[in-house]
């Protein structure tokens, strides 16, 4: 049985390698064309199974469906969520996974408190952009501004960015001297600190009541909004997707540079890296700050879309879910972690009839992955090779 599995796995790996080879062998313009087609497809996704514009209930072209694809959508099952909404959630989780991949997959720092940065991103748009937030009220009183004044959504972006970078550095500065498990525990604590602070600082965050009327790109939520509305979530998805694509591009640039190499070196052997002239602390701090910024961006979009947040949305379970996305998908590989994120969001939405067994399935999947594919679904190529080698070494030690 195990032998057969290994055999199968080997064949699959050979097939994957062959495909990779062929992809590499293509001329550059064909590869660009392929990537462009993939991106276009991602933007088409909200209409999946239909021709663009012909979505049910609003449909002049209803009936013109492309059958197999409609079954992928989440709104064909009873009580299923809006498909674009699910896609949006997938996109912001992919964004989180990308950020966490920098921290865990590249720099090798286990961060269990990632939800903290997500929360900081969400709270920075809430506190500065919503007319209901105590911070905005205070600014109104101080400067004698009108009752509906608040910081514009676009101006909240740099605020959130700065807050996240600073919080990343503040968390990193004292804790990055720790390694491995110790760092994991400290970051776990950080995530909780943020949540508990948000719940208890009534005068600033309105505590458990949460903050409503968080603005979107078109300003505070209102029936007059044309594009970013509550009923049609496609624009939200496209916005999140665009942010994701930009971030993929940015992280790729970092990965294939001096910075990316330094991160890998630190992950592999921090002491040796330091002796080879890598300023380990500086680059670990950068990894933390970049991870924080990506997590914050994700939280920012989350808060804008739902226009209401409260501290209970940022509990520690979601942090664990984030790490699971990275581990299941294949830490160190952006395609892998993105797949992990999409699966963990999409599967529970699509198979709602099994909602009660959600956590059972989740746990089982984790265990199976750890046994059968410890390097994740789409492993980073280098890491895959390492684990394969270890598997071969293992029997001699038993």
């Amino acid at each position: 049985m195990t032998l057969q599995l290994q055999e199968l796995n080997q064949r699959r790996r050979n097939a994957m390698d062959a495909m990779r080879q062929r992809w590499r062998g293509l001329p550059k313009w064909q590869r660009y064309l392929g990537v462009t087609a993939a991106i276009v497809f991602l933007y088409y996704l909200p209409w999946l199974g239909y021709f663009p514009g012909g979505e049910p209930p609003s449909d002049p072209m209803f009936g013109l469906e492309i059958p197999p694809f409609t079954y992928i959508r989440t709104d064909i099952v009873p009580g299923g969520n809006n498909w674009s909404g699910v896609l949006f959630t997938c996109a912001i989780y992919v964004l989180v996974a990308l950020g966490l991949n920098v921290v865990i997959g590249l720099a090798g720092l286990l961060d269990l408190g990632y939800i903290g940065f997500f929360a900081i991103g969400a709270y920075s748009v809430a506190l500065f952009g919503s007319v209901n937030s105590p911070v905005v009220r205070m600014i109104q009183r101080e400067f004698g501004l009108s009752q509906d004044w608040a910081v514009a959504w676009a101006a909240c972006i740099p605020i959130a960015l700065v807050f996240c970078l600073i919080s990343g550095v503040i968390l990193g500065w004292p804790t990055l001297r720790l390694r491995g498990d110790y760092l994991a525990i400290v970051t776990l604590g950080f995530g909780e600190i943020i949540r508990i602070t948000a719940r208890n600082m009534d005068t600033i965050t309105r505590g458990p009541q949460g903050i409503s009327a968080i603005p979107g790109p078109e300003g505070p939520p209102s029936p007059d909004n044309v594009i970013f509305t509550f009923s049609d979530l496609k624009p939200w998805y496209w916005l999140a997707l665009t942010v994701c694509l930009i971030m993929v591009f940015a992280v790729r640039r970092l990965e294939n540079s001096r910075v990316g190499r330094s991160w890998l070196a630190i992950r592999e052997d921090e002491d040796a890296a330091a002796v080879m002239g890598v300023p380990a602390f500086k680059f670990k701090l950068w990894a933390f700050a970049i991870g924080a910024a990506l997590g914050g961006a994700s939280g920012f979009l989350f808060a804008s879309r739902y226009s209401f947040i409260d501290p209970s949305q940022f509990n520690v379970f979601i942090s664990i879910l984030f790490v699971a996305m990275v581990v299941i998908g294949g830490s160190g590989n952006m395609a892998g972690v993105a797949l992990g994120a999409v699966l963990l969001v999409y599967l529970p939405e699509r198979f709602r009839e099994f909602t009660d067994y959600r956590f059972l399935g989740f746990g089982l999947a984790m265990v199976l992955i750890m046994i059968l594919r410890p390097q994740g679904l789409i492993p980073s190529r280098r890491r895959a090779r390492e684990l394969a080698d270890r598997a071969q070494e293992a029997p001699t030690n038993v």
Binding site: L254, A280, R382
Partner: protein, 311 residues
Amino acid sequence: MSELTATEEVAPVSPPPARRVLLEVDHVTLAFGGVVALDDVTFDLYEGEILGLIGPNGAGKTTCFNVMSGVYKPTSGEVRFKGERVSGRKPHHISRMGISRTFQNIRLFPEMTALENVMVGTDSRHKTSVPGALFRIYRQRPKPEELPQVTAEGGLPRLWQQTRRSFASVFGISRHTLEERAAEQKALDLLRFVGIADRANDVARNLPYGYQRRLEIARALGTEPALICLDEPAAGFNPAEKEELLKLIKRIRDIGHTVLLIEHDMRLVMNVTDRIVVLEFGRKIADGTPQEVSRDPRVIAAYLGEPTDAA
């Protein structure tokens, strides 16, 4: 260094004038609790020489290395490199000052390719950080040979290449790109220098033992050190491989690096070194040319006299 170019040879250090002190180990004592690992050790290293550091097991050779490369801070005394204090500085700072080393138990970056391993070393002389790699705004005027070449016959590809070329000559090329090219070129040259370029793109973990040892040397050379410390580079080698290593060490010296060598193999040490320092129980017991040292009765008693060690 910014003036690095793609064509530069592996010869970063100028030929030294005779007998200039490069490194001074000045009355260094290192105690771990009650155990004195190094006891008042003093010796100098001259520029351009190959110095052997020998002694029986547990004599404190590797500890001495660790003090020089910043892993340990001496309890008293200090190490000076080109007159500057080394002890107490951060390891990456010491590397930038010009000291590099290899490890007795190989410590490569196992999941990175051989080329990337060396590039981590060459990176230590580069400056691109996160903003530079992300935005690539800092640009430098390229030399003519660095500009994108126009090779296509005609049509759209040629137009594209010409556009890129004129863009690069007007706006310059980002420091990131230039450094990346220089690092790759330099790393390849170094892999050729130590003789393992045929497996440059293999992951370090999958390289044979002898390759890994030499890759460590290449990575250390990548940081452009004035002084390179080799910690038992011949451990586990057969006589033929040792012979090659001996030649390699001499070549390293010939391109202008000073070499400090810890080694157990007496034949290798006697053949390659200019001077030898002998440690025993953390103390220096002798210091001189191989001939002098091998005649020293204390050394013979401590080390050479034991036939098992003189393998």
